[in-house]
């Protein structure tokens, strides 16, 4: 709990002025190498760390971006954050993560906090991909939406192409020889459920096929997956594959099917969505799944934010492709 060291103490120890010390430490100006070294050693010796507040007051830059998760931080925000950090870390910028917990009041509070801290830009994320109202109007810093998208088409939003994910899942099932494919997913009103179901239907239609049963909408839970297994089998539909809207649904379905004596993938092949490690690895057999590349989305969002900070804003939606990760549940 020592008091912090200022640049004037460093300058004094090195026997130079503060201006010279500043140049020496920031590699600016023209200094004798020897002087530069002397200042650097003094800084080292005193454990000097520049006061960011003073610096930003002068330069107008903080080299910090804020990330607001409108829903609670979790499975989606973390990879997004990691991707953003990777893209920003190269430029020595850091990320200030704020959890608005799905509360508009808290969200506006954090927005104010970030603006008062004069962050260079803001990334907004959330648990659902559905479009949301812009977080603010005429903000003094650029904003990029990641995973979630802004309802204002002029805003920059980096989102997963969920229909693409569904397409890859269906194509994969077709490739391993399945034709009678069902789709079990989350709530009918959920944006992701809709996109994925539409993507699946469209892909089959393009091949002159259709889903073996109507889409089974339910919840994003294992319990629903288990229940859906019973429903599916009771319809008597001769299904040889199921594309699920989430890994949790898929895992529940796998259990339900196994309990009913069906072999996976022998009788029925299974594809999930999210590629959530604990689910795909915990499932028996291990679950083929669609990965939305959240890190990539975070990275791209950060890159677009950097572009905007540098005066070259990108507008509109940027849809990024998904990736299929094959595992035992669809092995040939």
């Amino acid at each position: 709990m020592d008091r912090a060291v200022t640049i004037s103490q460093v300058a004094a120890l090195a026997g130079v002025s503060t201006g010279t010390a500043s140049k020496a430490l920031n590699g600016r100006g023209a200094l004798r190498p020897e002087t530069r070294l002397r200042v650097q050693q003094a800084a080292e010796q005193l454990g000097f760390v520049a006061n960011a507040a003073a610096r930003s007051l002068q330069t107008g830059r903080t080299y910090t971006v804020g990330m607001i998760t409108t829903d609670s931080i979790g499975r989606f925000s973390i990879p997004l954050l990691i991707g953003a950090e990777d893209a920003l870390g190269a430029g020595q910028m850091s990320v200030f993560l704020c959890d608005a917990r799905d509360d508009p009041i808290r969200e506006q509070y954090y927005l104010r906090t970030l603006l008062s801290r004069k962050v260079d830009g803001i990334i907004v994320t959330g648990r659902r991909t559905q479009a949301r109202q812009p977080i603010g109007r005429d903000l003094p810093v650029p904003v990029v939406y990641a995973f979630i998208s802004s309802a204002d088409a002029r805003d920059c939003s980096v989102v997963p192409d969920e229909a693409d994910g569904a397409r890859r899942a269906i194509r994969h099932l077709l490739a391993v020889g399945r034709r009678r494919i069902a789709h079990v997913t989350g709530p009918e009103h959920h944006h992701s459920a809709q996109m994925r179901a539409a993507g699946a239907a469209d892909t089959l239609a393009a091949e002159g096929l259709r889903l073996a049963t109507p889409v089974l909408y339910g919840e994003w839970s294992e319990a629903w997956g288990r229940q859906a297994a019973g429903i599916l089998l009771s319809t008597g539909a001769d299904v040889d594959a199921v594309f699920c809207g989430s890994d949790q649904v898929a895992r529940g379905l796998a259990e339900g099917l196994r309990d009913a004596g069906r072999e996976i993938p022998g009788d029925i092949a299974l594809v999930g969505f999210d590629n959530w490690d604990v689910m795909v690895d915990g499932s028996r057999p291990a679950l083929t799944s669609v990965d939305m590349d959240l890190e990539g989305i975070g990275r791209t969002a950060a890159e677009m934010l950097l572009a905007a900070i540098n005066g070259e804003p990108v507008h509109g939606h940027q849809a990024r492709p998904c990736r299929l990760v094959p595992r035992a549940s669809t092995a040939v």
Copy 2:
């Protein structure tokens, strides 16, 4: 992307000096109520948000604390963060979350970043409860360790009392009439595995009992739990309950036992550890588990940090009790 508004613009609009405007907006000094109101309205009208850098330069306080997760952010860090935010939010302080990803270089980088940002204090967390080397020496701000603990006994560390958790698990199993209890857990060298195993053994010893089999050490995974089921049954030990070192192990064990035709809790009762929602709810039957109250740990850590910031530091380890959450896997 408008330019930010400064207090002098507010002052100009309200027809007062910047000093007066400052007092009006911060509720300090003695001002005519009418003046105060006029300034507040001007600020409102212009959308004024005070520049935190300028303020902190003057006051030396940033009303920000940094939180460094030494391991990657995840299941443990988030509730800790939420708890800390709850405790700090009351005092209008915000939390800057940094993910060091288990990389000492990154950790030191973030430490420097936080110090340069002049945070009022730092909370250090991690994925394991084991003691770690202090993050720095003679830092200019107070530090509190949450969940993880510092190897320096003088540092303030808020940790879960894992032996207490184990005790509650065993007591619960005894209370529902079980006597032949086994323990299946993670790696033998893992601090948490050791604490929990010791807590379980001690509690049984206090009742004149002992574990029905030697502790089964393995991994923190469902796969190990399933494997352990086979091992347990092959020993022929007549076990009527298993206390598991984690929910994942417990879930795997539940599956393995069911596959072998055992009823849960009829033949064998099961208790997990962590109270991780997707595991306890996904398990069949739903899993009784030990909750370490991570939010409470985060809250306490933040309170201790606040105390230290206010000049009343608390030293040493603060162990917090766990909580048992009974579910169907131990229902009578």
